[in-house]
């Protein structure tokens, strides 16, 4: 495994987006992972539509009544991958732009830009997460966002952080050691793309220390593999 790795350096990550005041983080985590997988499968980096997932994906976990994707009221990346598998794929952002509110589904099957061929769940082992990241592209992860409301930069490594997950983000890379601006402390860290715009965190990104499932970051990790789609 390389000591440092960042999919942004390999052209597999689109620009930072902004979910606005809508609980649709799960859809950004899903599209970010599929954008990376599609890039690895086709060499084409294309921004995919979160609004299609917000409006159209109401996939439920068949084993748990009531745990369905619900647009601005929350969802789960694995349910969203399941939805994308079933309907054939996801449209481009520009064909189905983001509004940040729950709307009527306007999915157009003829405009599918990327398709899911399968998705997997990675074990809590952080070396396995790094290996899957390098092999399959950016990963959809859940995290506890308690410390993110006041985060400005550096490597976050709170002494106390719950592991119940309440936010969906995208794991795009990792670093061997990060110096925090205030204190010179070396911390190996994950590089996380968030969906709160570029003027939050480090240009829209969050760094959290690696190795102890801090804030639950290693406990809900999914990889997705994209199918080759003949461009429409």
């Amino acid at each position: 495994l390389p000591t440092d790795f960042d999919w942004r350096d390999h052209g597999a990550v689109t620009a930072v987006k902004d979910q606005g005041s809508c609980g649709s983080c799960w859809s950004f985590s899903t599209t970010g992972s599929l954008e990376g997988a599609h890039y690895l499968a086709t060499g084409e980096l294309v921004s995919l539509s979160e609004q299609q997932l917000v409006d159209c994906d109401h996939e439920c976990d068949p084993e748990e009544y009531g745990s369905c994707d619900a647009g601005c009221d929350g969802g789960l990346m694995n349910n969203a991958f399941e939805y994308a598998l079933k309907v054939g794929g996801v449209q481009k952002e520009k064909d189905y732009p983001y509004t940040g509110t729950n709307g009527v589904c306007k999915f157009d099957k003829s405009k599918i830009a990327a398709s899911v061929s399968n998705f997997s769940v990675v074990s809590i082992d952080e070396d396995q997460i790094a290996a899957n990241l390098v092999k399959y592209g950016p990963l959809a992860v859940g995290i506890n966002a308690a410390w993110m409301q006041t985060y400005i930069g550096g490597v976050s490594c709170p002494y106390i952080c719950g592991k119940h997950l309440d936010h969906g983000v995208l794991l795009v890379g990792y670093g061997a050691a990060g110096y925090a601006p205030i204190r010179l402390k070396e911390k190996p860290y994950w590089i996380i793309k968030n969906s709160w715009g570029e003027n939050w965190g480090e240009n829209g990104y969050y760094k959290i220390c690696r190795g102890h499932n801090v804030c639950g970051v290693a406990s809900m990790v999914s990889t997705v593999t994209a199918a080759h789609v003949t461009p429409q």
């Binding site: 809508c22 609980g23 969802g75 985060y151």
Partner: protein, 120 residues
Amino acid sequence: STESFIEQVSDDPLIRQVVSDSVEAVDQLLHAEHHFSLFKAKYGKTYDTQEEHDYRFSVFKSNLRRAKRNQLLDPSAVHGVTRFSDLTPDEFEKSYLGLHKRRLKLPVDAHKAPDLPTNN
């Protein structure tokens, strides 16, 4: 435990300048008002009524204290005023998070990724 932890961490042994509480309180208020003005300008924040403005300022002061506490408990990061500093933690969670919080269960098509070699 968090509170007692903060007392330990923030009760530093250095001799502090002794000022009367009221002077310090005024100073802190001026400090908070200055930060709030910068915050409103930077993020283009406006509030419909004076009541709403005063309420948001009180939330902002509370978040300043939270950022200070977070800095103590998360020293390798930088914490401070962000675009969410006029939101209560509940408002922030409702509006900007959105992961269904429930027992981790997986849809029928999900399967466990095979272990990959991680050395060499």
